[in-house]
């Protein structure tokens, strides 16, 4: 059943879906992947508002190296990973070592994502500031793909790339979910002191999951930049994008594997549907409705769409006589 659905999903571009639906699917899968990366930490009590920084590093390091030095994104991504790992370590280690949790962790990481955005804006001579930057095109004379520059004009290629990234994200989610680390982190989220007293190395365990999550988000930033072929500081870093990740995950449900993806699909399709029905007459109608729904979700459905659906399903099946 699961594999059948996956096969169908993988085969969709072959049925000649238009460019626009394909674009939407790519966006859903890409954001689904990024939200999944965030939820690795979020569901274990590490609510980070700093993932915008990691995404921004991914997007900008690769594009800047390509534009200014002609470094292939394949090498650029290694540099971006390095920068992300250092950033995550510099912020994460003291945070975990000095027990900065909850509100305080959220706000320290919020400062981090703002620092990333401001640095990108401040280096406007190199980055183009708030206007953003476009990677120099490697597709000359009718070429449609350049593997060296990681630029493809065919959306189908991108569909398979983000599909692979998304599947890899879900796979990592499962690996983490089945590891000892996850159990340790859950214990830490419940009661840090008690967890430490039974021999869990709190700082190290938290750092591990932070590293994984940050590097995955960084890769998401790279894919975003290479797919859109345009980056700007507000779209890949800062408080707005960090909050968007947090809320996308909450809307979908952060405790189930497909929850973040459902959140991404829900938010993107909601925006598109409202635009389709109302046109561009009401520019911010989708975010208005989205914001109101978020508030209602957190109050009435803290487990998110998929979480609530699953709980409802379990209730239904538990009541059926076959089980009783």
């Amino acid at each position: 059943m699961k594999y059948l659905a996956l096969a169908l999903l993988a085969a969709t571009p072959l049925f000649g879906v238009g460019n626009y639906p394909l674009h939407l699917m790519i966006l859903v899968l890409l954001w689904g992947y990024i939200y999944t990366s965030w939820s690795l930490m979020g569901r274990l009590g590490l609510v980070s508002f700093g993932h915008g920084a990691f995404m921004g590093i991914g997007a900008y390091v690769v594009v800047m190296l390509w534009n200014h030095y002609g470094v292939s994104p394949w090498l650029g991504v290694l540099a971006a990973f390095g920068a992300t790992a250092v950033t995550a370590l510099v912020i994460g280690y003291p945070c975990f070592r000095f027990k900065i949790v909850g509100h305080y962790f959220a706000l320290v990481t919020l400062a981090l994502s703002e620092v990333a955005r401001l640095i990108i804006v401040a280096l406007r001579d190199q980055t183009g500031g708030s206007l953003g930057a476009t990677p120099n095109s490697a597709l000359n004379e009718g070429a449609s793909a350049s593997l060296f520059a990681l630029q493809f004009s065919d959306k189908r290629v991108w569909f398979y790339i983000v599909l692979a990234a998304w599947l890899a994200g879900l796979w990592i989610w499962q690996l983490v979910d089945r590891s000892m680390g996850r159990i340790a982190l859950q214990a830490i989220a419940e009661e840090e002191e008690a967890a430490a007293s039974i021999g869990i190395h709190v700082t190290r365990t938290k750092l591990q999951v932070t590293m994984i999550s940050a590097l995955m988000t960084c890769a998401g930033g790279v894919l975003y930049a290479q797919y859109q072929l345009y980056v700007n500081p507000d779209a890949v870093s800062g408080i707005a994008i960090s909050l968007q990740m947090v809320f996308g995950v909450i809307a979908g449900g952060m405790f189930v594997r497909l929850g973040p993806t459902v959140g991404a699909a829900f938010t993107i399709l909601l925006a598109e549907a409202l635009r389709y029905f109302f046109g561009n007459k009401f520019p911010a109608l989708d975010t208005t409705i989205y914001g109101a729904m978020l508030v209602l979700f957190i109050i009435f459905m803290p487990k998110g769409i998929l979480g609530a659906a699953e709980a409802g399903w379990r209730k239904l099946t538990a009541k059926s006589p076959a089980r009783a």
Binding site: F98, G102, I299
Partner: protein, 288 residues
């Protein structure tokens, strides 16, 4: 070198003026956190609503500013109560992180609703206060006014909290939430009063900001984050700490921005914040 020094002095003094405004911004947020134990992530968006209220009352309906501003303060105070009753109250018993996030949802909502209703154009009150020259330095009168009103507002708040019965009850609740109901203070009522006060302070800040800045729906994002960071730096809920932190931050922004570039001033301030957090996670004056 002489010129440099005089400009540096100007930057320091401008930082002082900015500090007064930032201190006022953090005061309302600290009050709410200290009493209700909830961070209003959407605090700056309430200020944005207040700015639009002043703008529409004054420019659209031609009310005099001195009438429009108190009205705007009352409107934002009412918004604070609505926010508390309909959004905060249902999650008071929920996990702290949900309480933090629910107001983040309100942030999205208010920002988008403002875009929908008011449009994305920058709006300007059209009131330009003159610049005041002192020697070779010049200061904007609206900044001086903002500084003065912010200080007066803070003194008034201090007197209210220490000298009145209601203020004493508010301070008592913030010290021990569990015991006060036994002393005959209703937390529910105090929470509503505190929300109204927090809203009123946001409204006051809005009246001062509207004199200096253009209004647009995303304006909250430009000073919202810094307000939280100031509160956390001073120790969440600690008003004196917030006060000190506001002036520290303002100096970093103003002098750092003068020596390098405006954004670098902010970068320095934020990095300073992160560094202090590692050294004193509870904030400058916060208690563990």
């Amino acid at each position: 070198m002489e010129i440099f020094d005089i400009f540096l002095l100007e930057a320091v003094l401008n930082g002082l003026l900015l500090g007064g405004l930032l201190a006022l911004l953090s005061l309302g947020l600290n009050l709410i956190f200290g009493v209700i134990d909830v961070v209003w992530i959407c605090y700056a968006e309430l200020i944005m609503c207040g700015m639009y209220a002043v703008y529409y009352l004054h420019v659209q309906y031609h009310w005099p500013l001195l009438l429009a501003m108190p009205c705007a303060i009352a409107i934002v105070a009412a918004l604070g109560v609505v926010l508390h009753q309909f959004v905060i109250r249902p999650v008071l018993g929920a996990e702290p992180i949900n309480q933090l996030l629910v107001t983040g949802g309100v942030l999205f909502f208010l920002q988008a609703a403002a875009t929908l209703v008011f449009g994305i154009e920058f709006k300007n009150l059209g009131v330009a206060l003159p610049a005041i020259a002192v020697g070779e330095m010049s200061f904007s009168a609206s900044r001086l006014l903002a500084f003065g009103v912010a200080l007066a507002g803070m003194v008034a708040m201090y007197l209210f909290l220490t000298r009145s019965y209601l203020g004493t009850a508010i301070r008592a609740i913030s010290q021990d939430r569990a015991i006060m109901p036994l002393m005959g203070v209703s937390p529910t009522r105090i929470f509503v009063v505190t929300s109204a006060l927090g809203g009123a302070l946001a409204g006051l800040a809005a009246c001062l900001l509207v004199l200096q800045y253009d209004i647009h729906p995303a304006i909250g994002l430009s000073f919202g984050p810094i307000t939280f960071l100031i509160c956390v730096l001073g120790g969440l809920g600690n008003m004196l700490g917030g006060f000190i932190a506001a002036f520290l931050f303002a100096q970093f922004i103003s002098v750092g921005g003068f020596v390098f570039h405006l954004e670098w001033g902010y970068v320095i301030a934020f990095v300073f914040f992160i560094a202090v957090m590692f050294w004193r996670p509870q904030g400058i004056l916060g208690s563990k």
